[in-house]
Amino acid sequence: MLTVLLILIPFIAGLIAFGLKGSGPKVLGMIASLASVAIAIGAGCTFHASPDKLSFVASWIPQLGSQFRVGLDGMGVMLCLLTAIAFLLVFITIYNRDIERPNGFYGLMLLSQAGLIGVFTAFDALQFYIFWELALIPVYFLCSMWGGEKRIPVTFKFFVYTFLGSLLMLVGIIYLYFQTPDHSFSWTSFTSLQLSMGDQKWLFWLFFVAFAIKMPVFPFHTWQPDTYDQSPTPVTMILSGVMVKMGLFGLLRWLMPVVPQGAAMWTDVAIVLSIIGIIYASCIAMVQSDLKRLIAYSSIAHIGLMSAAIFAHNEQSTQGVLLQMFNHGINIIGLWIIVDVIQNRLGVKNMDQLGGMARKAPRMAIFLVIISLANIGLPLTNGFIGEFLMFSGLFQYNHWFMAFAGLGIILAAVYTLNMIQKVIFGEGNTLTDSTTDLQPGETLALSLIVIMIFVLGVYPQPMLDLVSKVF
């Protein structure tokens, strides 16, 4: 029942939020996300004690052999925890902001949380597809209503891209459904299928394209920088912190186990695409002067590494990916919070107009440095252990791939240090002199992130234990 509650709480809270006025929606959002975090932690504890209690099956469309089938394994618990924490962090950060039409904003945010949790808990392919789409629609409205100037064409492109990918996946799901002996959509039926090589060869692409668009992996990434740039920052936090994990999750939960031979056959192609993404995105990030776009491109590079590691498909790389999914989510949300603070105070996000903020906003500067370094995987921070595992897994698969992917670390250091230098060091100007330091809400959110960065950086064992049972 805990799993169902994880979906129901944000869903019902979201629906209620539409009808509330004044500060009602934000209070409700905060309560719902606190409750979600508590339940996710509860689910984590239950998982160790009695994992069976976390699954729930109910009849849904018997004629189709589709059931409402939710459950949590280590990966699911971790991603639900990430989702709940991400939304809590976002709500804390924006608690004191004035948002236009808050009922719509919080309502849609909570609905997208319900969709995301649904994706991470679904053990029925049709249900997975439905939640996959449901997570997308609120985000489309959030970006289009509260986003930047060019938001309408940009988010539209984002929607059409993902929708096309989803439909291809649907074709794959229906095809697999007909192959199952018991005509069912359940994950166990799908994974126990004995598919011919010929089928696996093309089924792989139906699923891979859907997931690759979502992550995004080169060359399916073109929607991403524009969307991150134009979305309101709270939504960008969710998009980059949690939503891209849907793609990675899809690979791990549905693609690799269901079409293993297909995946094995196209592994090199997928890894090469991922590595091109890493290098290409890092190079663009280096020459970016726009802060939001820089982080957007850096995200493509990081996701590229995770996708390559998934396809390397050994224990170490998979462990690394699972760990890094959480860490990347936390770190990138931290970065977005800081970008949001800068944009909120100064109204600019061009790095050439910034500088010298360390003197005026020392707390922000400290947080920025710590989170940035965690993002590039400095030892003792959470990013390190995940990256280390991924690289060592990739090395086992093919050391050339690892060498090229490793270039990403160097490039990441270049653009990250460059960003730190341009934003907080150097000479200030009249604009940056007017800045103020963090507000209590922002400080709280960033402090939580930094605590997680250090705790998981020094003692990642609990998290490793959680995800170790997946494979």
Partner: protein
């Protein structure tokens, strides 16, 4: 059978009602009462087909499928009356006649879902079509309406001729008019039969406006009074499809013969999907966009005709319901606006949030987004095609086209929610709002539990 009798009788009664009742609004209530009676009478037939279908006089076969399809058609018409019934008064003086014509069309549709003789098919198609030619031209002072009526009539007669020719050739080859006794699915294909099938496919493709027989559609839909376009594009089109499906699944399925027409219909389907969707993208008027979208949706429904399996029958019923409800709903809102262009919808969400929300959900359904009925409709027809096995290329074409369709459906949503504007909206009555909420609820309920409908099959 009950549906056929009750709709035909209702049509006659309504013609007389027009003589005695002067108040236009009261006529609408008569029509609504009549459709409810027809709906219940149709449902009352369910117990009799519980164990299997039965044939009457060798002409009509009543089956679970036909009863369920009639229920969908009559239910959708009831919704149509509730949502758009008051618009009839604005078209012209003869309100009772318009309602009567709609009932005659429904009689044709219930015949189309039950025919078991080729002559009955011909009758069904004609009974469905002729009232439409009249309805298209009811706005007598409008030249576009005149043109629509004439064009529809000429094209319609032409296709009826082709249909008759097809029937004649098939009779020549098989020596029977009974669709279950044609025996054309055997190993060798008689050239006469093949010609007959092709002619019938073309004629029926014309009726459901499949490419390349679609040219009349945008002009007729655009020229006809909007309230009738809404009906023609939905319930009537579904009626055309049910005739198509029945004819091809009962008589021409299996054996060597189905391979011949499968290829032809696959090409027609692909062309319909591609042309319908691409043309819809370039429209400036929402009404014309919906006309092209109806062509595009026809492409999806054709999947069900080509794939001969259980999913196809379920798919066509669900598709008919989902597509009809959503399109009738969008048209109902469209008729409340003065300006039918996309700009006419600018800022509707602020002015009439309920209308905007309803249109959004209807368009989601048309685009096939989950939790709406349209998703499962698309799901079933795609399933039917995938199960068929040799149509994967067509499925991929369909999927790409579905992604394109998002473009023009979302243009309306973007206009309503994200653009500034002050659309001129006629006053919206509480009754219409209630009917819209009912339609939205139906779309969502069928989107969550499609088995409520297809479970009856």
């Amino acid at each position: 059978m009950n549906a056929l009798i009750s709709t035909a009788l209702s049509g006659v009664v309504l013609m007389f009602v027009g003589l005695f009742v002067r108040n236009k609004q009261h006529i609408k209530f008569f029509a609504i009462a009549a459709i409810i009676i027809a709906f219940i009478a149709n449902l009352a037939q369910f117990p009799s087909v519980e164990l299997g279908s039965y044939t009457m006089y060798g002409m009509i076969e009543v089956s679970r499928f036909s009863v369920l399809f009639n229920a969908v058609a009559l239910g959708a018409t009831l919704l149509y009356f509730l949502l758009s019934g008051s618009e009839f008064e604005k078209v012209g003086e003869h309100v009772a006649d318009y309602f009567a014509l709609i009932f005659f069309i429904l009689a044709g549709i219930s015949l189309a879902s039950t025919f078991s003789n080729l002559l009955m098919l011909f009758l069904a198609i004609e009974i469905m079509s002729i009232p439409q030619y009249v309805l298209a031209g009811t706005d007598r002072k409008n030249l576009k309406s005149n043109e629509a009526s004439l064009k529809y009539f000429l094209m319609g007669s032409f296709s009826t001729g082709i249909l008759l020719m097809g029937i004649a050739l098939i009779y020549g080859a098989a020596g029977s008019f009974n669709i279950t006794e044609l025996g054309l699915g055997a190993d060798s294909v008689h050239p006469l039969a093949l010609c007959g099938i092709i002619l019938m496919a073309f004629a029926l493709a014309f009726k459901v406006s499949a490419v390349p027989f679609h040219f009349w559609t945008p002009d007729v839909y655009d020229g006809s009074p909007t309230v009738f376009t809404s009906f023609m594009a939905t319930v009537v089109k579904a009626g055309g499809f049910v005739a198509f499906l029945r004819m091809f699944h009962v008589s021409f399925a299996g054996g060597a013969i189905s391979e011949h027409w499968t290829l032809i219909l696959s090409i027609i389907t692909a062309a319909t999907l591609i042309l319908g969707n691409f043309s819809a993208v370039f429209q400036q008027s929402v009404k014309r966009m919906l006309a092209y979208s109806s062509i595009a949706q026809a492409g999806f429904m054709l999947f069900a005709v080509i794939a001969i399996n259980q999913f196809a029958a379920q798919g066509i019923i669900l598709y008919a319901a989902a597509y009809s409800i959503a399109t009738i709903g969008v048209f109902a809102v469209l008729m409340k606006l003065k300006d039918y262009t996309f700009e006419g919808f600018n800022g509707l969400a602020k002015k009439q949030p309920l209308l905007a929300l309803a249109v959004t959900i209807f368009l989601f359904s048309l685009a096939g987004i989950p939790v709406t009925a349209g998703f499962f409709a698309k799901y079933f027809v795609l399933s039917a095609a995938i199960q068929h096995g040799h149509l994967l290329w067509l499925v991929i074409v369909g999927v790409l086209c579905a992604a394109i369709s998002v473009y023009y459906y979302f243009r309306v949503i973007i206009a309503m929610y994200f653009k500034q504007g002050d659309p001129e909206v006629e006053p919206v009555s509480g009754g219409l709002k209630a009917a819209l909420i009912l339609a939205v609820a139906l779309v969502l309920v069928l989107g969550l539990f499609p088995n409520l409908l297809i479970g009856c099959l």
